[in-house]
Symmetry: C2
Subunit: 409 residues, 2 copies
């Protein structure tokens, strides 16, 4: 069996943690596994390196920032290799360019374009454990990085190319939970979730695993396990929805505070200005989340969308600047909101779930400002003051004891 | 004019220092120079990385230590490039492998075997300042380092390959002095020294520039300048002895405390065991300095040599272990010694200089335990208690005002 083990920043955050990582890798090698290790930079190293660059120039060039940041993983890869060698395990650190990880010629957030597997296959054939730097690659002799969460992506890409049987993502949480256990005491660790559910959960605040890595894992059919490097506990297996042993209607409750809603009232339909708004917002780095449009009259629509509260002013400025182009009658901005979502692959075949959610919120007299749905998710935008109560209620409603409903069973 | 500017660890020790370095480089570019920058790791970074490895394993593998240490220069190269770009100077950091610095396939102290100059020539042709990581190279896809002082060696090698007109070594001292100004208030900065004088001075304690770099500069005829990145002061030019404008008999006084003398009395000549002693000491990492041998009887010699005081016990153990092989009658070890040397290219043609040194020490009643001479150096081993007085006296004798003697003039 061949496995890729990826260790995040907190898992390699100190020499002691690196020793613990080496023990985990040793256990896997003792089970006759072929192991490929992928590491992030130690602890806050990446942020510290960026801060150093910012002390010199608040806007450093993306090329040099990549060259700078890539050192973080090189340090942890060398240290993990040293810790393995101390345990009499043959190991060899490999940087992005040494491992043949080719990316697009883009700095800061490149995508992996190909991996020349021969080098890694050779290291494995030599009976050595390759310890590969995550987060980085090479493009035409230039050092590139994959953006935040890039080490997860590196691990999945390596698992796909090396046809690994499993890709283990070691982090500081024990798995994927039904909701944030800091908020809901009754939150449970999920033994399994589907890639799609994980994507919805990851995008909605359960930042355990980077969405890009999940997408890639889904695309290449790489079975993922999310688990903690701090305990022996079993983690959460992330696989194709069809392979799930048991489907629940609702798998988890996600939530996100500090949301602002922007509404453009009476937008002239024929002007086609909406694309201009969202293009301008994207260029300004504003992440637009939920978008809802409804026709009011035949020639007019109302458009509402949410942004992070901190981006609200920037967003209003951009929208006002495009007023002539858009021809809206009124502009409304509402801060102090939150997004609460229920996620579950079983929803597709259970159309009553959304209604059940709305009723639960209505029971608590929580006003719903916006609604957005996908096949496996229902999101409601509500006043932030009600977020905690709504999550507790929805968790109880969908995920605790008798109230739980197994899908199609 | 093409110049290589090398900046040591203290010169790039902080974001502020890196800004100062960028200002120095800018000045050079404004004078229409083609500039190649070579950098060391920031401050104590290399020692910190080694300490980190040692926390995991006191004897980490040389390969992984190289991969680990090489990150230090990559960080400073990227930061210097960022600081240059902030000043609207086109710049580009290059690691050892990116700059095509090939070394022997040895870890920890590799020698530069070749440099593929095309890449750097291309960067220069593009009007960019290449900022190259010192201290490191590549051998068969493996990251290698050049050992301590390796960044000086990198700079000189690049200057040689790129046929630079000058190689400036920026450090935290303003140049090469006649002796240590902390000890002798009258010490003067030398405007010029020869490569050979610099080698003798460097080996004898004036640790401004790594001897290997000086050797390479001499071999390839690279003119060096040692100067400070902290001031605008002119530095010391290091050139071929024949190019020196003015030769002095004595150029500088070097000294070194904490020396121990080991004497083997009555070594049987026919046994040829001496090679075994010095081979065994070299293998144990003991650096033997002065070696003196004198014939006592036809079949016997006395051999004395000096080691660092801290290596004295190890040395005695090794010598005792080889007693049968060597067949010496007596073994003597004397600690608490120091070495004082006068260095100068003009000595060759002034045979009375050694006598003048012995007389100066005799005037102070300082006993001389050993003497060693080369064409441009006379070293005396004396009790350490007299080191300071002897350096002051020798500096006054040879290097101050009227007492100075210009060679052959």
């Amino acid at each position: 069996m061949r496995i890729v083990q990826k260790f995040g920043g907190t898992s390699v955050g100190s020499p002691e943690r690196i020793e613990a990582v080496a023990d985990i890798v040793r256990k896997a090698t003792e089970l006759c596994h072929e192991v490929v290790v992928v590491v992030s930079a130690m602890g806050d190293t990446t942020d510290e390196l960026i801060a150093l660059a910012h002390q010199i120039d608040p806007r450093p060039s993306a090329r040099e920032l990549d060259a700078l940041m890539a050192t973080g993983e090189q340090v942890s890869a060398a240290l993990v290799a040293i810790a393995l060698q101390k345990r009499a395990i043959k190991a060899r650190s490999l940087t992005g360019w040494q491992a043949g990880v080719a990316t697009e010629p883009v700095h800061g957030a490149a995508r992996v374009s190909s991996i020349a597997a021969e080098k890694l296959e050779q290291v494995l054939a030599d009976g050595e454990v390759p310890v590969v730097t995550g987060f980085q690659g090479i493009a035409g002799g230039e050092i590139t990085t994959l953006g935040r969460g890039g080490s997860d992506t590196s691990a999945v890409a390596l698992a796909a190319v090396l046809k690994a049987d499993l890709c283990e993502i070691y982090t500081d949480v024990t798995g994927v939970f039904t909701t944030d256990p800091r908020l809901v005491a009754a939150a449970r660790k999920l033994p399994q979730v589907s890639y799609d559910e994980m994507l919805e959960l990851a995008n909605l605040g359960a930042q355990v695993l980077h969405p890009r890595a999940v997408e890639n894992a889904k695309q290449f059919g790489v079975p993922l396990v999310v688990r903690s490097s701090f305990t022996d506990e079993e983690g959460t297996v992330i696989v194709d929805g069809n392979n799930l042993e048991q489907r629940h209607v609702v798998t988890g409750i996600a939530f996100e505070p500090e949301v602002a809603r922007v509404a453009l009232i009476g937008v002239a339909v024929q002007r086609h200005g909406l694309a201009a708004v969202f293009t301008a917002l994207a260029r300004a780095g504003v992440n637009v989340d939920v978008i809802v449009q409804s026709v009011v009259q035949s020639a007019e629509v109302d458009v509402s969308f949410t942004v992070k509260e901190e981006d609200a002013d920037l967003t209003l400025g951009i929208v006002r600047g495009l007023r002539d182009e858009l021809g809206y009658r009124d502009l409304v901005c509402e801060s102090g909101l939150a997004k609460v979502s229920i996620v579950g692959a079983g929803m597709i075949s259970n159309p009553g779930v959304a209604a059940q959610m709305f009723q639960a919120l209505a029971d608590l007299d929580i006003p719903i400002r916006m609604v957005s749905t996908s096949e496996i998710k229902v999101s409601c935008i509500i006043p932030a003051a009600h977020m905690e109560a709504s999550v507790l209620r929805l968790h109880a409603e969908f995920l605790e004891s008798e109230a739980r409903v197994a899908a199609n069973s």
